[in-house]
Subunit: 318 residues, 2 copies
Amino acid sequence: MTVSRALKEGSRVSKATREKIMAAVNELGYVLDQSAGTLSSRKTGFVAAMVPSLNNSNFADTARGITDELESTGLQLLLGYTDYTVEKEERLIEAMLRRRPEGIIVTGGAHTERARRLLDNAGIPVVETWELPSKPIDQVVGFSNEEAMGLLVKTLARKGYRKFGYIGGTTSRDTRGSQRREGFVRAIEDLGLPTGRLVSFGVPPISIEQGGQAVVSMLERWPDTEAVLCVSDLSAFGALMECKRRGMRVPQDIAIAGFGDYEVAAFCHPGITTVNVDCYGIGQQAARRLIQIIRGGEKKHEQEIILTGYRVVEREST
Amino acid sequence: MTVSRALKEGSRVSKATREKIMAAVNELGYVLDQSAGTLSSRKTGFVAAMVPSLNNSNFADTARGITDELESTGLQLLLGYTDYTVEKEERLIEAMLRRRPEGIIVTGGAHTERARRLLDNAGIPVVETWELPSKPIDQVVGFSNEEAMGLLVKTLARKGYRKFGYIGGTTSRDTRGSQRREGFVRAIEDLGLPTGRLVSFGVPPISIEQGGQAVVSMLERWPDTEAVLCVSDLSAFGALMECKRRGMRVPQDIAIAGFGDYEVAAFCHPGITTVNVDCYGIGQQAARRLIQIIRGGEKKHEQEIILTGYRVVEREST
DNA sequence: AAAGGATATGTTATCGATACCATCTGAACA
DNA sequence: TGTTCAGATGGTATCGATAACATATCCTTT
């Protein structure tokens, strides 16, 4: 018992005893077994988080935000990736819950029925991120992808572009992608601009390469398109490079914009106009809210919806 | 006890009983508590892995390789990032070991003395990845960064370039970066080419932006440099974009090459010559080897060094 | 020196699963 | 009918820490 106390911060053990214990610990190479502690204290020190992909730098930033925020609290992150499917998410959630995390962060508001039930029954705070779900499970940290894309359209329309095209993935499994597309369509309609120039190409998340192929298909069907908006900067970058490869001038012959403000968008040439999203902040705030609830020990916490910022970043591509 | 059996695959419980149990499980929303199981079975089902950064797509690929390989085995990944420092790695290793992982994967061969001791004493298989450490702790899955960079130099020298410059980070905390730099220097010397054109810029990992700044500094000091090799594709991309911004022709005025074969290298214009590394395979094989040892239950396993492939990918930038 | 309070250390039960062994059930067969 | 055996189910101890409470020790004060 005294050893247990000595190895915890902030509990009272005499200096002499603590030193003796530490000496023994060092000599033996003893490392506390947290899974035993977990069982008796009913606190695992885990927080679970699920992102669609580890390879996407936006979500990697969110994961980093979560980790950084957790670090000082001694909570450990259980990270999983869903591959953009709710089925894998469901399996992952179940696997995570077996570890009894004290809180859980998921991406988006689309889940299987069973996943919702699991999350509801888990009795732990849940944060949905990166979107504003119409029926939140619990906490939310995110922004409206629809509005953000709408803002991009309006910003470009103000510069005089009228014939807008949109490039995105083929399925709705990337819900944020679908929302951006809806935001695009609605904004175009609101402004009374020519509609219908939508190219769907590839299973989300669409890659740089697919962005290039998609813009080719866009130009074949609607050669007079003035501005192409892409579901993400990666596809925008692919589109941009493909256009340059074909000798087109950007933005004179065609303007291109993306979404997400990936590093590549800032430093490629020409720089890509995009929507900057506070990826790191999303993770940070989601974690912070969880910590608040966990440490607060409030049994029944308030539902809170935290809006994170976004802004259009205009660069040379438009 | 029967419930415990019913919830495990492959143990004998009559169909009727299993169905009754499952019905109750569903009704109650019961989820197994693995931390309790862990304690009695002495198997946590965890594998720990540490990468320098989550935001680097090369390491993200490795993490994905690990996760994918683990998925079918029921092992769960505890992922942490070290920020390229051995101090953070040490703290992370200690935190991970408290969770009693059944195996551990680290990046590189540089660790603090205490970290080595912790890993040694943990009594679990350890895999060092992404390098070939001179004094391996246990298992190794990686390649020689030095040779890989050397191969790139030789390949370009064969094309006729003679005045080579190198761009990398300022400190040695990125050991793979240091090894690549050494490989560069040695290859240049071996070939009897002009030496000394080394620009160190920024704390590793150096960014796209820093790559751009570094190439400026390179051109100021050695304006006649014919080919610039960069520690990674990100800095190479930054250098490339900066050169184009300044109206230089690549590769006619200056050739640029990177390392890592990031997606951006393939699809930017011109495409960047680089060294392709089997990032995903490193993760996959590291995990596979761990599983082999864990499942094999061999108390004392053989040390094995698994070499992963690399190859120079020539593109338009050289 | 005795009393009292604060601080330090010790004891025991417990968390929730599984290992291990014991018991039970039912079918097959002599 | 009794015996045997495999398969199904049940009972108990246990993993290694901590919560909660009990006791010991030390210091202060009068």
